[in-house]
Amino acid sequence: MLPRLRLPLRGRRDVVCQQAVELVTDYLEGALSRADRRRFEAHLAACPHCTEYLAQMRATIALTGGLTADDLTPQMQDEFVTLFRQWRGAGQDGT
């Protein structure tokens, strides 16, 4: 059984790969303490696999960000226009 890798890094000497992959989001979010960030970056500098992993996470985020919202169908748009006109017709409650 592997050690509990979610535990804070405090007191540990080095980050190992299995911990590093769990720290990626906190790292990208700027949520690591300065000491943990230094340890994480030191690990990256020595580990091409985790550097690759980080690049993949960044690519994943970029690709997810490229997903576009589905357009409204004309029928749905008509429904909203109707909704709006009903609201305006009802007198907007003093706004």
Partner: protein, 198 residues
Amino acid sequence: MDQETDAELLGRLRTGDERAFVTLVRRHHAVMLRLAAGYVPSMAVAEEVVQDTWLGVLRGIGGFEGRSSVRTWLFRILVNRARTAGVRERRSVAIGDWVPAVDQSRFDATGHWAAPPEHWVEEAENRIDAAKLADRLRSAVGELPVRQREVVLLRDVEGLSSEEVCGVLEISEGNQRVLLHRARSRLRQVLETDFGRS
């Protein structure tokens, strides 16, 4: 016209401007629908929730005080309504058990990579059938547990800040990061399955 800010559109909506309303709806509808779909049993119900939300927006438009962004305000109304309409949320309020970002079998006993990630980043970014990749990602987002899906939709698809996401979903920064981490890790796995040897 689509370049106007949400706040400008809301201002015009207050004066009864129909085009401002339609622009706002078009801008936010898809993500609202996907958010709502996480809480209710069918797309038909999700559509009702979204429509009900917009009606609520129109009725309560005087209540927007500008303390949050229009988007945060809008999505919070939606999530509250969707939670009321749905039953699934009650089972998924907790952020859930820990799931490793990468399957434990990929590491050796000392926690170092035994099966390291292969190189596919450029291949994914330059993929010719980008539409197919987008479909794959979109369905992977759809299959995430609802809390993870909410966070990744708002953060990575819609581009809200972490602060805005916490405001919409009423969760802590820490929980937001945990959910985001799980969602992104899962989506990376999906891409790896497509591109790498996995």
